[in-house]
């Protein structure tokens, strides 16, 4: 190269490469390019097919439940609603989020039953969900997906994935294989404890008197920047009544949704948004563990649902109730489930949005005509 004192832009005066030099250099260039491709493939998960990816979660949901195109891969059966949230201003002391200033914001949402079968019969013990989207006055959004359990049965994405397989009903018996269930509970003792708590928790008679909880911890950030760990619940104004498993066995396939539609037609339904504030040491990364009952709880406002609408006509069908769509002033905790939920919901959303839509189990005719 030093011989090159000439106009170096010509490139013609550089010494000729020997055949060996040319081969070595060509291979080196090829290796650099191949190396970058491999790095990219590794980052994309193609070199580690056993890793737990959003794709594997959604594939497994589809495998366990069967594929129902156009529907959510979990909480597939549902009914949409709209209404408002009226903040009483007390939340402003906890978080700088605009929603906690006194005032009313519109909401849309969706009640659902867990499981990936959109036409499954309602059952007393099926987990009930509430998806919510708050439209804040400054254009921000707060979305949540909350369920009627006191704790979440699984602490980590891996535990959640393993139960999808282990607790799935055996096609032969219609019930989970006891040996696999035992093995699962032995591997995840925190799930065994959480399931005990859930069994000891009284199920209410319907959606309208269920308490829906975040279960995962979040962080509230004040204007000063100080941070508190919180969990929250929507606590019904409608009085509690226990569900009677015997009568619900006799009931029709949509008895929970039918009762919900009838009660909204009688009068708007209401819930209080109750914020529970952690004390130092309360676990924020494990949704299977309840916080002690003496933790401070603050009622920050009232949710009112005055209209229900079939998925067939509601915009809420095409909303992803991603729990990490949060306004400024609310942030994710260190709970590993949150990012996993966000990732898997997104993948499920992407798949169903591109699929042909079939009518929902709860039709527009049913939601318009109260029985």
């Amino acid at each position: 190269m030093n011989a090159n004192q000439q106009d170096q832009t010509s490139g013609t005066n550089v010494p000729k490469l020997s055949a060996t030099q040319l081969t070595v250099r060509s291979i080196a260039i090829g290796l650099v390019i191949a190396g970058i491709v491999c790095l990219f493939a590794y980052a994309g998960g193609w070199l580690t097919p056993i890793a737990l990816t959003p794709k594997r979660f959604v594939d497994t949901f589809e495998h366990v439940n069967g594929l129902s195109p156009g529907f959510r891969r979990n909480h597939a059966k549902g009914l949409c609603f709209s209404g408002s949230f009226e903040s009483n201003g007390r939340g402003a002391a906890l978080s700088r989020a605009v929603i906690f200033r006194t005032g009313r914001v519109p909401i849309v949402g969706r009640f659902s039953l867990s499981g990936g079968k959109p036409y499954a019969a309602d059952a007393a013990t099926t987990v009930r969900g509430m998806g919510l989207l708050f439209k804040l006055p400054d254009g921000e959004e707060w979305r949540m997906a909350i369920i009627n359990l006191p704790v979440f049965p699984f602490a980590t994405p891996a535990a959640f994935y393993d139960q999808l397989v282990a607790l799935a009903p055996d096609p032969a018996t219609g019930k989970p294989d006891p040996a696999r269930v035992q093995a699962f509970l032995a591997k995840y003792p925190e799930s065994a404890r959480a399931i005990q708590l859930i069994h000891g928790h009284a199920m209410s008679s319907g959606f309208e008197n269920s308490t829906f909880s975040s279960l995962n911890a979040f962080r509230f950030i004040k204007t000063s920047g100080s941070i508190a760990s919180v969990r929250w619940s929507m606590v019904p104004v409608q009085p509690f009544a226990p569900i009677d498993p015997a009568t619900s066995e006799q009931a029709d396939k949509k008895f929970l949704f039918d009762a919900l539609i009838a009660s909204v037609h009688r009068q708007p339904l209401q819930w209080h948004l109750i914020i529970t504030i952690a004390k130092p040491g309360d676990p924020t990364d494990d949704a299977t563990i309840p916080w002690p009952p003496d933790r401070q709880q603050i009622d920050v406002g009232t949710l009112t649902i005055d209209r229900v609408e079939s998925e067939d006509t509601s915009p809420a069908r095409d909303i992803n109730f991603d729990p990490l769509i949060l306004p400024d002033g609310v942030a994710a905790s260190d709970d590993p489930l949150l990012s996993a939920r966000s990732a898997v919901y997104s993948r499920s959303f992407t798949r169903r949005e591109g699929e042909h839509k079939t009518p929902s189990a709860v039709s527009p005719a049913e939601t318009e005509n109260a029985k």
Binding site: D7, L17, G44, G45, P54, S339
Partner: protein, 190 residues
């Protein structure tokens, strides 16, 4: 021997390397986040504002390119090589605009808020529509792979010129000033 400037303008060179780093980071963030449950949220929160930053810089870069004169092609470049370079540069420019715009449009069509940071967010640029979302989501992936492929071709071309033709092509884009004659003290890597 020394026929005027052989380097791109300083701003062009700064923009080139800044955006090279950002685009490469973006490709890796994007491909990692869609396969990750643990880091999905952190990465997607970074992906959105970085994408918009790239869009803004792409506008600056296009204006800058129109306003400055480009150094001539190296004589070592064949007619075919020049055509290839022109096409790949046009493709890179197109993708610098298309990828962020498709991403923004896709989130709009998917009924998502377009959050930048804290309470700062962008308005939707398309109406909410399931099929539009699905198509744009797929387009975003296809364009990202196209960008990755074009980047590899661009890099491969540069390595070929640097180590086989040895015409110091990288000097054209070097951040430091390179004189066109007597350049033994400013050689590229080899």
């Amino acid at each position: 021997m020394n026929q005027g400037r052989t380097q791109f303008a300083l701003l062009s060179r700064i923009l080139h390397w800044l955006m090279a780093a950002m685009l490469l980071a973006m490709l890796f963030i994007g491909i990692t986040m869609v396969a990750s449950v643990r880091d999905y949220h952190k990465l997607v929160s970074l992906h959105r504002p970085l994408g918009i930053a790239i869009l803004i810089l792409a506008i600056v870069r296009l204006i800058n390119r129109k306003l400055t004169t480009l150094p001539p092609f190296l004589p070592t470049m064949s007619e075919r090589g020049r055509r290839f370079t022109t096409i790949s540069e046009r493709l890179l420019y197109m993708l610098m605009f298309a990828l962020p715009l498709v991403g923004w449009g896709m989130l709009s069509a998917g009924h998502y808020p377009i959050v930048m940071f804290e309470s700062v967010h962008l308005p939707p640029i398309l109406p909410a529509s399931p099929m539009l979302y699905a198509v744009l989501r797929k387009t975003h992936t296809v364009l990202a792979f196209l960008l990755f492929g074009t980047f590899l071709a661009h890099l491969g071309m540069m390595l070929f010129h640097t180590f086989i033709v040895r015409d110091r092509i990288i000097n054209r884009m070097a951040l430091w000033p390179v004189r066109s004659r007597n350049s033994t003290d400013t050689q590229a890597q080899s």
